[in-house]
Symmetry: C2
Subunit: 350 residues, 2 copies
């Protein structure tokens, strides 16, 4: 590979121009750019070269060029220089971020929404989780006769709960006893490895009818499994859909289906979770995303960390023709702001 300096400059110009106009860009447009030292003819030659190398394509003869996935890749890896955000915008985000936020998921939801506004594309995030979580606490809380709240506290401090009904009256003490026994038997076992049998082994020798015991076991098991699940927040999809690449209703449908196909995005982002923190941004362009329907999109996400165990993912989905230089610093800043707020809340609520 290794492009000449002039070719780099031309490629960058083409990408920048195409990003802002969404129209194939011709040699003249580049040549007329204020700081261009070279003529359109020369640019044409270089463009032909860039096309031969697979970085550009012509949608048809007599049209300008547009970048290929590879062209964007080159741009993203070597050519762009993300700009720092202006202080005013930082202030704005910091201010908006804390409005009407009552718990962490609110904060994340809000951050996701802000990210969409700040970038103008669709945003997604994954609720935090830890890689190998286990059950730290399990409680049965008697709410009324025959109704019990099952509370699961995971190792990293996540709390989930679930309301169940049981068929018999049972005292708080007994409930506590059972919960304690289950809790103890699960100490240190990663949730993925817990099975119904694991849980069952806990209750040897507790003096209660089998029926009720089995029900509680089952409910505890379900609650634990549910506790580990991830939510995905998505916002501003309409901002993505108004992009000119989706002028066709069928294109809109393809993207819509991909995004709202339950669990598809979640699964994808979860797999991406593995990315090391050395390369904080994951940028997938067009075909590189393997999800059916998102071929015309790019996905830029990053991992956010809370405390020293929890992490999640946040980022945006835009057209391939995306303002990468603007998007990156905004995701960065929001990632940091979320962490900051989380830490602040942890040590001292307002």
């Amino acid at each position: 590979m290794s492009l000449g300096e002039r070719q780099q400059w031309i490629l960058k110009s083409i990408v920048d121009t195409y990003v802002s106009t969404a129209e194939p860009v011709g040699s003249r447009a580049i040549a007329q750019q204020s700081d261009s030292p070279i003529s359109s003819a020369t640019i044409r030659n270089e463009m032909a070269e860039l096309e031969a190398r697979g970085l550009l394509v012509q949608p048809h003869t007599s049209a300008g060029r547009i970048p290929t996935d590879l062209g964007y890749r080159e741009y993203v890896d070597n050519l762009m220089t993300p700009a720092e955000l202006p202080e005013a915008e930082k202030q704005e985000i910091r201010h908006e971020l804390s409005e009407r936020v009552y718990e962490f998921n609110d904060l994340l939801k809000r951050a996701t929404s802000l990210l969409s506004v700040a970038t103008g594309y669709a945003s997604v995030s994954l609720t935090p989780s830890e890689q190998f979580s286990y059950v730290k606490q399990l409680k049965f809380l008697s709410i009324e006769a025959e109704r019990v709240l099952v509370i699961v506290v995971l190792s990293a401090g996540l709390v989930r709960d679930r309301l169940i009904r049981i068929s018999e009256l049972i005292s708080s003490e007994q409930l506590q006893l059972i919960a304690g026994a289950i809790e103890e038997s699960l100490q240190g076992i990663p949730i993925q490895e817990i099975t119904l049998v694991t849980v069952e082994s806990a209750l040897e020798g507790i003096a209660l009818p089998d029926a009720i015991l089995n029900q509680l076991l089952y409910e505890a098991y379900i609650s634990i499994k549910q506790a580990d699940h991830l939510d995905v927040y998505m916002d501003g999809v309409q901002r993505l859909l108004v992009q000119p690449e989706f002028r066709e209703a069928t294109e809109v449908h393809r993207v819509y289906n991909a995004l709202h196909n339950d669990g598809l995005i979640t699964g994808y982002l979860t797999k991406a979770q593995g990315q090391g923190p050395d390369r904080p941004f994951m940028i997938r362009i067009g075909q590189e995303i393997k999800l059916n329907g998102l071929e015309a999109c790019s996905l830029v996400t990053t991992t956010y960390e809370l405390g020293d165990r929890l992490c999640g993912r946040i980022g945006i989905i835009g057209p391939k023709r995306m303002e990468y230089e603007k998007v990156i610093p905004r995701i960065s800043f929001i990632r940091e702001s979320v962490k900051e707020y989380y830490d602040k809340k942890s040590e001292n609520f307002e």
Copy 2:
């Protein structure tokens, strides 16, 4: 008003045909219908009459007629005869409804999804609530040092909770004491009427630093207010969007924005909640829905009841050109199935 029998028959035929073809229907199409006793010329005369009465329109000269909102209204009120669903489909729904359902909201979500599949349009539902709910229980549960789970039980049995952090260590007993005091002071007060002041009055004379007391009060207050909030589930929007009325991308956007404008649908359905149980179905056609962007849609919803206090809403959003005769019995059946499952679970969890 009062249409002649023949006019009724013609109007019904036109609506039925238009619903299935999405094309303006002409006099000949009606005349050729197998059971038509009359000629196209007569039908033309009647159609002109129906148009004069505002029940039909011609999109342009030399096109057939399509129903106006008023035409659909007449159809819905007087002409259609909803069919009972086949037993096979009932079985199917009953079977699907209970899969992987772990608590009521799962059931509702599942029901909503099934409704969309069964009708082929988008479906919406509102989580259950009661008209004048009050706080029945309030609990603070100490999870770890400095982390407390606030649990609110509403009068109808709804349970909501929220994890908070507090800045100081405080014993379980003290937490219970505070929660008890707040709980008592709120007995019988409708949630809408609770203010921060109401809550504050509870803690006269508890011996703890003001700072921590105030924080707990505030958190309790927020939790209570949050407990009352409604969720909306929506599913199968893509089924709506592929309808031919939304072939234009801009139309897709209008509908999309209306549906995903946070709180818009919720608010609308909540207001509709008031509908008496005498008229179980609310059918809003086109302009009758006052929401910007849904002019081409119809909204058919019904109230579901759980126990004797809780109720919510479930229904579908389709194009005006909707198979009302098929939609109604499906909503009915799902409403009943949800109630049935809820009751069954209440008395005896499998």
